[in-house]
């Protein structure tokens, strides 16, 4: 409780903070404007607003396929990553065993490896096993790459929970599994949400690994957008970006409603 006469920073520092925040939000705001722009190049003030570019995006078969692929991958990877991370988080937080520190570091290691290295690794693996490149390879690669996000969020969440509650439930007659399901799991909502969302976003947005594992038949949204940008100079990709951002805005609002942004970010 520290209601103060004035905050401990001067107005100049506050201004700096505002400017940085402006810098952060500028592209986001701008892209939204660009997507509705009447002309293919940016004219400010915009001469007219249109949904033409959105239509363009959905009319483009390559984009449609890429969108579908990305969604399929993301919706496959997210539950997979969570299912892998949840028992691991429990093991790391609630149990003591030799080698725990080492296991912790090992499980977090995919985060440290540059995306291109992961891409090449799976490319090599696919080549060695004679598997073609495709959605399945991408799903496997993304799961391996992204599950540490889920693990980190779940571990942080678990740390804050009182293990005595499960004991109390068992004392009252619940089996180990029921005690977990009825007592601990409901309290893991923030961790599951935070972990799930970061995994989902990574799966949809990943470029540096995906670019090695896509080909003419299978492509993801970021990869497709990248080649479109190379060839065309119109706001269609901006329309795609707006769609993605609208989706994330909905996600953020939903998280805030369900769990509170503050709480979620303590888990970051």
């Amino acid at each position: 409780m520290s209601i103060r006469a004035a905050p401990p920073y001067s107005a100049a520092v506050a201004l700096c903070a505002w400017l940085v925040m402006l810098f952060v939000l500028l592209p986001v705001a701008f892209i939204a404007l660009y997507a509705f722009n009447d002309t293919a190049y940016l004219a400010l003030p915009p001469r007219g607003l249109t949904l033409h570019w959105f239509a363009n995006f959905f009319a483009n078969t390559r984009f449609r396929d890429a969108l579908l692929s990305s969604l399929v991958i993301a919706f496959a990877v997210t539950p997979a990553a969570l299912l892998v991370a949840l028992p691991a988080a429990i093991a790391l937080v609630r149990y003591r065993f030799p080698g725990r520190e080492l296991v912790n570091v090992a499980l977090m290691s995919p985060l440290v490896v540059p995306g291109v290295v992961v891409g090449i690794s799976f490319l090599s693996l696919a080549a060695a096993l004679g598997l073609g490149l495709g959605t399945s390879t991408l799903i496997v690669a993304m799961t391996c790459l992204a599950f540490p996000f889920a693990l980190r969020a779940l571990v942080a969440n678990l740390h804050g929970l009182d293990p005595a509650l499960e004991d109390a439930a068992r004392n009252l007659g619940a089996t180990r599994l029921r005690a977990f399901a009825l007592v601990t799991l409901p309290q893991l909502k923030p961790g599951v949400l935070a972990g799930g969302i970061f995994v989902f976003v990574e799966a949809i947005d990943n470029f540096s690994t995906a670019v090695f594992l896509t080909n003419s038949r299978t492509t993801t949204l970021p990869v497709e957008a990248f080649s479109y940008i190379r060839d065309f100079d119109d706001p269609t990709v901006a329309a795609m970006a707006v769609l993605l951002m609208a989706f994330s805005a909905v996600l953020v609002l939903a998280i805030d409603r369900l769990v509170g942004l503050d709480r979620l970010l303590d888990l970051h």
Partner: protein
């Protein structure tokens, strides 16, 4: 092992299997880097050799890329820290919950909007006919080349890293008790001196942690140099990609990638050691970030 001892390992099984797949892929990649590719085909022949590594280390393109990567990553991290620290500080000490929530909301929203979106936005914003140049032209100033060069890449990556940096640093800054700055002011320190003598030293472990994360991200930068660099900015990841696409000499490229990985891990290890040493000095301040 009895049932109790077995249990954590059973729980870890799925994760360890996933890690195993990752490790196998990685092992494949390392093994490929030790083979030689028969020219003009996709077949590997010959015994294991370090030839690819020798070639990579000797290659001027690789050396340039390595230097550029470290140099640019350093610049990006420095800028990110310079911009992100004041923002994190203001949010940590702001008396207005509305401001705090607004900033958090904005940061998370930016984070979730993805890399391609943001890289593309900068491409258009900074282009010759982009927003910035249009504004300059309106005032009568000459246009500035902000994209298809290092400047654009640095701006794009800094913007990309900022939310992670601020959120990580913020978590650490919240652990510094306000009472300490109050105590300093009570003892005669002005707001600025209380910041310099008390807050800043105690924020250093958190700062290093956040900077390490940013440095790791900057090192691996791929999309931004690719999109915003106009072919002129070659960081390690770009070089690797370019070689795969043009050459498709997988063993050669794998060797380069392996060296890149070593570089990245070495840099991170050094930062981790630095952070450990600093945390010991300021130990009781907060839990390790």
């Amino acid at each position: 092992m009895n049932a109790d001892e077995r249990r954590p390992w059973l729980l870890l099984l799925p994760a360890l299997l996933t890690l195993l797949v990752f490790a196998v892929a990685f092992a494949m990649f390392v093994s490929v880097s030790l083979r030689t590719q028969v020219a003009g085909s996709a077949v590997f022949a010959g015994a294991a050799t370090f030839g690819n590594y020798r070639a990579a280390l000797a290659s001027p393109a690789v050396q340039d890329a390595a230097w550029n990567t470290v140099r640019l990553a350093g610049e990006m991290t420095l800028l990110t820290a310079l911009l992100g620290y004041p923002l994190a500080y203001v949010v940590a000490r702001s008396p207005s919950p509305l401001f705090r929530r607004g900033v958090l909301f904005g940061l998370v929203l930016t984070l979730l909007s993805g890399g391609v979106t943001r890289a593309y936005a900068w491409l258009v914003l900074l282009g010759n006919r982009g927003l910035v140049n249009q504004a300059l032209a309106a005032i009568g100033l000459p246009t500035v080349r902000l994209v298809h060069n290092e400047t654009g890449v640095v701006i794009g990556v800094v913007h990309f890293l900022l939310p992670f940096f601020v959120l990580t640093l913020l978590a650490a800054l919240r652990g510094i008790p306000v009472a300490l700055e109050d105590a300093a002011r009570n003892l005669g320190a002005s707001r600025w001196r209380a910041f310099v003598h008390v807050f800043l030293p105690l924020s250093i472990p958190g700062l290093i942690a956040a900077a390490s994360l940013s440095f790791a991200g900057a090192l691996s930068a791929f999309l931004f140099p690719e999109l915003l660099g106009g072919g002129r900015v070659r960081m390690a990841a770009n070089l690797i990609y370019e070689r795969i696409v043009t050459d498709y000499n997988l063993p050669r490229v794998a060797a380069m990638a392996a060296l890149f990985l070593v570089l990245a891990l070495a840099a991170l290890a050094m930062l981790a050691i630095l952070q450990r040493a600093l945390a010991r000095r300021f130990a009781p301040a907060a839990e390790a970030a």
